[in-house]
């Protein structure tokens, strides 16, 4: 073990400064020197950048270090091990780790390093996908608005589109946001909307009380019209009768379903009369199927 001044440590190479700073040691632990010694190899700090930052905030002059040897891949493994956050690394961190390996032509170290990052599976593909995103799209992933794959689907969205989308972060669930991104990309590409027109469109959708429902109606105009026609039919013919009418899911099928209960002969006769009247206008219903 050695002691390094904070100032000296600050001057060391930051090649391994790959992790977000949300894992910070407690003040008392640091002041009582109850933290892992910071590994240093030559003029490179391998791990402990968050400790270094916190030490600065606490006015600590010196930090405990330990000299280490090894290859860059071994150093990265050590840093990941000390970070000890398997399955909790952010996409941004995975992107930076991947970039670190790409720059040093160390992609074959994936197998050895994966175990520190994920319980199972590799991370390079994900990191590459993140790194291929434009910076303003990465924001959506960093803020957990959506996953990397979904973000890749909307990579051509402009910055102001992203800002408009971010307004919906607290209104929609993660799954809803994902669905929204998918529909938006289909609408933008399919309808060939220009950036300005798409911004207006997004603004309009974001202003809706239920943005995803509104968007779904725009994406599926025929299905929406069929649903509306069905609801109108039901309201007009059966409202308050105690008879329920259902269409087959997604209007796929040949049959509608009617359900009712009756409490007396009189009640049954009344419902039969309503059904007889209904049977005269079923063309309207079946036109929704075929």
């Amino acid at each position: 073990m050695e002691n390094h001044t904070r100032e000296d440590l600050s001057k060391l190479s930051k090649d391994y400064d790959l992790f977000d700073r949300f894992f910070v040691y407690d003040r008392d632990l640091l002041l009582n020197e109850l933290y892992p010694p910071l590994p240093v190899c030559g003029n490179t700090l391998i791990w402990g950048f968050s400790i270094l930052q916190k030490a600065g905030e606490l006015g600590m002059e010196e930090l405990i270090t330990v000299p280490v040897e090894g290859s860059p891949a071994e150093h990265l493994a050590l840093a990941l091990n000390l970070e000890n956050r398997k399955d909790r690394f952010t996409q941004g961190e995975i992107g930076r780790i991947t970039e670190f390996l790409v720059k040093r032509n160390l992609l074959d170290a994936e197998e050895k390093l994966s175990g520190y990052i994920f319980s199972s599976g590799g991370f390079i593909k994900q990191g590459m996908q993140y790194n291929s995103l434009p910076f303003h799209i990465r924001k959506l992933v960093d803020s957990r608005f959506c996953d990397c794959k979904t973000a890749a689907g909307i990579r051509d969205f402009a910055e102001d589109h992203v800002s408009l989308l971010m307004k919906l972060q607290d209104i929609l669930t993660f799954a809803e946001r994902r669905q929204m991104c998918l529909i938006l990309s289909e609408l933008k590409l399919g309808d060939k909307m220009d950036d300005s027109g798409f911004s207006d469109f997004l603004e309009e959708v974001a202003g809706e009380e239920k943005p995803l429902t509104a968007l779904h109606k725009i994406r599926m105009p025929n299905l929406t019209a069929m649903e509306t026609a069905f609801q109108t039919f039901r309201e007009k013919r059966l409202k308050g009768t105690g008879i329920t009418l259902e269409h087959p899911k997604n209007f796929e099928g040949t049959a509608f379903q009617i359900r009712f209960s009756f409490r007396s002969e009189k009640d049954l006769l009344k419902k039969s009369r309503i059904l007889r009247e209904l049977s005269g206008c079923t063309d309207e219903l079946f036109s929704l199927l075929f």
């Binding site: 590409l189 399919g190 309808d191 994406r219 025929n222 299905l223 209007f251 796929e252 099928g253 075929f290």
Partner: protein, 356 residues
Amino acid sequence: MNYSAFYSDLFSRIYASSDAVSSSAADRVRDLLPAHPFTVLGEGEEIPSEYRTGKTLFLTTSRGNTVTRCPGSKGHVCCNYCTADLYLGCTLGCSYCIMRGYLNFEPLTVYVDSEKSITRIREIARENPNRTIRVGTGEVGDSLLLDPLCGLSESFITGLSGLSNVFFELKTKTHFVDHLLSIKEKGNTVFGFSLNPQEIINQEEGSASSLDERLNAADKAVKNGYLISFHFDPIILSDGWQEGYFPLIDMLRAFPQDRIAWISLGTFRYPKILKEVMDFRPYLREEFVVCADGKYRYLQRVRVPVYKEFLRRLREFSSAPVYMCMESRAVWEKVFGALPGRIEGLRPIFHRPKGC
């Protein structure tokens, strides 16, 4: 066509499992592609990961049952087609290819031990003497794309030619029929051509043959005594789809209708997983709903009139059996007025053979 140049460009290297290396298909591949690296894999050896790409051809032998019934689609009417899987994968690159969603082993795999499948088909034919057995090699690969290279179809054609109840179909988006035209014992071999308007072929069917090439190949097949079939599948709808498909339907008037074994119709459909792996295509902008089998299809109200129109136009000049692929009972009843089991002309080809 210079097949050697074509396949040289298609593949950059060849691997063969030790049990496939002495096959006639492997000999043909070596003859046609003498300059290509040819590696024999020993027991337990695998293709190195860097060569697990679509540019690698893998010759091997099949495991387990080589002739199976088409899996069909839950809740949908199945045509009980039997498949002999000779090829796994395809290099044509159609944007809608369902295999993009299912296959994760990229080298194009050829199962060279075709005798095993032929023997099994013969057994099934004997077990079902009064039933029509439709069997094809185009389920998870194109039947003819690699045939000039591997030469596997000839043994099927001749090997099954004596079986009057077997209709062996080679389903393709290519025009690679020339090497099979002079076979004498053709039996009920059917050359099946997948059809789409040229505009859709240009945009969505990668390096597949042009419409003219396919129709010319169909013409050659008929003139040389083969049966043919046509598959309007997938029918891709967009504004003005009629302008693309109606003239195409009319082109089939040029063929002797009694040589058309069947015509199938299938509107574009996809499992969720396919959409996740495919790039956005304009036709995906249409409205699709999830159906009983989990696949997405155009609205039933959209599909039914499309099928009806295809059927009406085909019936103007053809009495060939026409059927729909992976459609619901509801759609069958509305388009044909009945399920295939009750339709004269379809009943025999929809019968499920025993043992398949």
